[in-house]
Every structure is written in structure tokens, then in C-alpha cells.
């Protein structure tokens, strides 16, 4: 027989087949999943394949690009009247979400500053301050969300009593832009 290895009896086998350092069975404390029973006839059993060209990223993300570089303070003294405000707003915050709705509120032109206090139908409060020769800003206040940001150059147009704007803003404490504000508001004199 070819070079047999005689079984040695006095082996030290402590620790043989030692297990891992598992805490065992995954995290404790998680709740019990409760999915409903699977459907008898699911709508599909594999990821659908589509023919034709899928939409491009640009068309998916949809917002029109901001090409203008108008300083927001430059429209602060453009003749917006003081009075009730009404219009539409789209407010997108990076990593947070978007509010797109009708807004109502008040416009106030005073000295170098035109101030719009707006409220969306969902309750989001937005205060836009256009300051000639100073820092124009937007303040956002909602349940669980407070933010102040500097309005960046963008597309600001005033044709009294109407203000339209499409601009990014940079939150206080941030080194990068943090969202975009689109406004189309009429101020009633």
C-alpha cells in the first residue's frame, strides 16, 4: 500500500471546525415582514423590454435650463407693486423633494428691497427678498424644514405687476447650490 499515514490518536483537536463570530441570524429587533400573498396573475414575470428609443436624460429631468445670469438684485426696483400676490411656484430642494403649486401671499416693495411672502397650497412658506446692491435671498419654512439660501444669478424678469424667475440658490452653510426656484407671480397694486 502506498505510503499510508497511520492515524495518530493523540491529536489535539480543540477548536476543530470552529465557527465564525456571527451574531447569528441577522439583526435582532427588526419587525416581522407582512407582504400580502403574491398575486395569482402578476402583471409581468420578467422586466419588460421595450422597443424604440428610450427618453433621454435631458427630457426626463424636464426643467428648462437656466441660461440667463441676471443678478436678482437688479430687479428689486423694477416697479413691482405692493399688494396681494398670486401665481405659481416650483421649489425643488436637492435631495429633498419638490413643491409645485399655486401660491398666494403678499408683495412689498420698500426702498432697495422687494419682498414676496408666498404660501403654497400644501402649506410651504417661501419668502423671497430681492435686494438691490445686496444679497437676495429665499427663506423656506415648512413642517420640519427651515432653510435660508442666497439666490444665485439666473433668469429674473419683471414686467409689473408680474415677476418671473428661474434661478438656483445656495443654502446658508453650503458650498454648493441646493435647489432651484421657479416663480411666476403677479402682485396686485
Amino acid at each position: 500500500m502506498n505510503k499510508r499515514v497511520t492515524l495518530l490518536l493523540a491529536a489535539s483537536l480543540v477548536g476543530l471546525a470552529a465557527g465564525g463570530c456571527s451574531s447569528g441570524g441577522g439583526p435582532a429587533g427588526a419587525g416581522t415582514p407582512s407582504p400580502p400573498p403574491p398575486p395569482a396573475s402578476p402583471a409581468f414575470s420578467e422586466v419588460p423590454s421595450f422597443t424604440g428609443t428610450p427618453p433621454t436624460i435631458a427630457s426626463v429631468t424636464s426643467d428648462a435650463p437656466i441660461t440667463a445670469t441676471v443678478d436678482p438684485g437688479s430687479v428689486a426696483r423694477s416697479g413691482l407693486p405692493t399688494g396681494d400676490a398670486r401665481g405659481r411656484m416650483k421649489l425643488a430642494l436637492t435631495g429633498l423633494g419638490v413643491v409645485e403649486s399655486e401660491v398666494t401671499g403678499r408683495c412689498e416693495a420698500k426702498g432697495d428691497t422687494t419682498r414676496l411672502e408666498l404660501k403654497s397650497s400644501s402649506g410651504t412658506k417661501v419668502v423671497v427678498a430681492l435686494v438691490a446692491g445686496g444679497t437676495s435671498s429665499v427663506e423656506i419654512d415648512d413642517t420640519g424644514l427651515q432653510m435660508a439660501a442666497a439666490l444665485l444669478p439666473g433668469d429674473y424678469q419683471v414686467a409689473p405687476p408680474r415677476l418671473t424667475a428661474a434661478a438656483r440658490f445656495q443654502p446658508e452653510g453650503s458650498d454648493l447650490p441646493g435647489g432651484r426656484l421657479d416663480l411666476d407671480v403677479a402682485c396686485a397694486g
Binding site: 500500500m1 505510503k3 499510508r4 499515514v5 497511520t6 492515524l7 495518530l8 490518536l9 493523540a10 491529536a11 489535539s12 483537536l13 477548536g15 476543530l16 471546525a17 470552529a18 465557527g19 463570530c21 456571527s22 451574531s23 447569528g24 441570524g25 439583526p27 429587533g29 427588526a30 415582514p33 407582512s34 407582504p35 400580502p36 403574491p38 398575486p39 402578476p42 402583471a43 409581468f44 422586466v47 421595450f50 424604440g52 428610450p54 427618453p55 436624460i57 424636464s62 425643488a92 436637492t94 429633498l96 423633494g97 419638490v98 400644501s122 410651504t124 413642517t143 420640519g144 424644514l145 427651515q146 432653510m147 443654502p171 446658508e172 452653510g173 453650503s174 458650498d175 454648493l176 441646493g178
Partner: protein
Amino acid sequence: MALAPPAAAHHENMAARVQAAWQVASNRNTTVAIGYMDRVTGEYRDNGQVAHQHFGSASLVKLFIADDLLYRSWRGEFGMTQYDWTQLDLMLSSSDDAAASRFWSNHGGPAILNRVKSRYGLNEIQPPPSAPWWGLTKITSFDISVYYQRMLNGAGGLPGFLADHIVAALRQFTSHGTDGFYQRHGLPDGLPREGVLGVKQGWMCCTNNTRTIHTSGLVGGDSRYIVVVLGQEGSGGSYQYTQDSVTGAVRALFPDGYVHRPAEHNPFGALDVVTVDNERMLVRSQGWVIDPDTADPTYAHLFIDSGGFDMGLVRDPRPDVAQHYPAYGPNHGFDATGPMPGGTHNVCLYGVNIHHGDGNPQLGCRSVSAPQKPFGSLDSVTPSAGKVRVVGWVAESELGGSQSPAHLLVDGVAQDMGFAGISRPDLQQGYGAYGINHGFDHTATVTPGTHEVCVLGIDLATSAGHTPLGCRTVTVPAA
């Protein structure tokens, strides 16, 4: 033969690594909640209470949005267009906010979360305080870890092909989000030596004077590891700073830039054949063992039921094995023979780690039977002037610890050696189940010359026959 040391289990001390990761971030004033899970072993680690602390989700909530959409459309609750599928993939791979917002508003906003919570049993996540702001969904690293685990194992009801779709989208993560933000912080930059990563990141600033940077995802082509690091700190400073904190935490978790897979360093091999010689009561085992961390021979252990045997270095030539594993060289075989107790027994082979790895894996088992006969060993036959000395042991499994008799045969002439009852502590490890007082050490007077000296184990109880324990041919000098 030198005894093989028990293999030192090679564990990544992930509890300590999590602590180190937390410390790295804390030193930079970044609060991090950490979750780590090995889906194969079930090991889960986190940094204690912080792992159950609420953070704003930022874009991690997009995991839930995607899951809810896919699940409900699969159930036929609504149809998804090509546009929807494209947006969903973009939302996951490039963290597209516009896609998330559209889905969020079209499919119930916070109701999405409540559905996902229920399906997955996530106790800690909470909807955002104000419906439009999906990024303020309250999450914990614990629940995100649980979500990944359950999404992958189907516990939340999502069928496997859709879970695969999510994973595929996460693996196609882009270096920058559609908003232009660099999104390789955390897992991608912290695990540069990992070939396959599925990643979902999050970032937002500066709601309530807080900057948030999250990294989460699945590591490996088998998505074996789940890693979640949620980070936040006061606003001010820069995104880059917080990203570096989170990436630093991941690097502290995995200093080598990849996740060690200990089991992949365990020995492998086979127990090819186990045969029993019923006449001589011997069991013969043949096989091979390789430790993937070395081309040198490695150690192996053999068990007969609970009795263990060290086979030492396994180094017989096995050209057939070498043909399949040329990188490890030719010498990894064994061919081991030893006494076999009567009855039916499991014979099992274990490879012994000599470098990395997480244990000594069982490489094969065979169930074998032998008759109820004596078994033992003739260890030595030593001639001296007019005498011959025989040393060995004999036992019989059906007698338990009781002693068995043996006969000495010199040229076929039997002499009764009586019962073998000398203590043999060396039997304890392998045959301890049958006691250890089974040794014999007998000296007989013989005539000078050459003799065949044999020892016969004498069968008691069930009569199945005596067992020849061994023979030697010796030359006895004159007295």
C-alpha cells in the same frame, strides 16, 4: 509525527472595525450611523444606539420608492411605461431627484413609506413631517440594513427578478448624480478593490443647519455584504469634508479596500474513498486537501464519529488533483489506515486552516460499517536475546470499556496473553468512547532464529471472529 495545531480562526473583528469607523468620523465632528451585515454568516454589526437614531433619508428613500413601484406594478395595481422604467433606473443609478419627485407625488407620497414599512417589517422609518419632502423621511442605518437584507431574500414580497433589477440599477451607479454631485463617496471610494458594488447614496444641505451625506449598498457579485453609513454634521464647511468623513469611515471598516471573505480562504478537498477491511478491522480513507493560501501541503483531521485523528501534513502525490489545481502543486493527497471499531460509523474529513479563513471545513463524510469484532493495533515487536516483546492494544466496541483478550502467535503457535488492560491515554482522543485501558505489553520466551510474530484479538460477546491485529517477522538472537 508532530501534532497539527488547531486552526486559528481568522475572524475579521467587525465589532472593533465599526467602533474604529465611528471614531474616525467622530474625530472630524461627523456623526455616523453604521450598519454591516454578512448575509452568508448572518453576522450583523452596528454602532449601538446611533444605528437606531433618525437621520433624514435624503435620496436613500429612492430605494423605497423604486421598491414600491415595482412591487405594485407587478401586482397589477398600475402599469409602468417605458418612461417610468427609464426614470426608475435613473433615479437609482444617478439619484435623479425629478424622477423621485414625480413618482412620489403620483403614488401617494408618504403612503409609499407606509406600504414599504409594512411589507418589510421596518419599525424605525417614519414618513417625512411634511408630505412633499421625501428627503426628510426618517431612516436609521438599522432599518436600511434590514431593508437590503429582506429585499434580497424576498421577505418583503418583491419577486427575485425585480430585486435583481434594483440591484442591477444600483450597480450602474454613475460617478455623478444628474444634479452634477460627485457620488462616489463612501462605498466606491472606500472599497476601491471591490469589483462589484451596488450603491445608493444620499446628500442634502442645509435643512435645519444640517449637512447630510449617506452611503449604502451591496458589496460583491453575490451581494453578500450590506454596508450602510449615514452621516451628518452641522452645516458650514463643505460637502467634500463630510464626504471625506463618510469615506474615511468606510476605509476604517475595510482598511484593505475590500471586504475580506474568510471562507474563501478555507481549505478545500475531498474524502474520495472510505473502505473497511472486515477481516483485520481497519478503515482506510483516501482523499486530498488544499489550503488556497499556499501551494505547500496542509493539515487534515479525520473523525470516526466523535473520535478525532490528526493525519498531520497531507502530502501524498495526487497528479489527478494537480491537473485541476496546478497552482497548488502536486502533493496534497492522503491514504490513511487505522483501526475500525465494530458497528456503523460516520467517517468525516476536515481541512485545517494554516493561514486565513474562518474555520476548518468539513470536506466530506462517509457512513461505513464493520462487524462486532476486536479492533486494535500491534504497535511494535521487539526481539531480544531468547525473547520477543509485543506492544499494542485491543478493544471491542460492543464491550464498551471492558477489556478484551489477545493471543500471541509465534509461527502460528498461540499463547494466551490474557486480557489487555494497560492504560493507553493516547487512545482517549480517537477511541475514548471505548475506554483507554486496552493496552498490552507482553514478553515471551522464544527460540533463537527468525519467527513470524502475530497478535490476535479474541472475540467475545457476539461471535464474529477473531481479529489479526498484525504480524512482524523478526530474528531473535540467542540468549
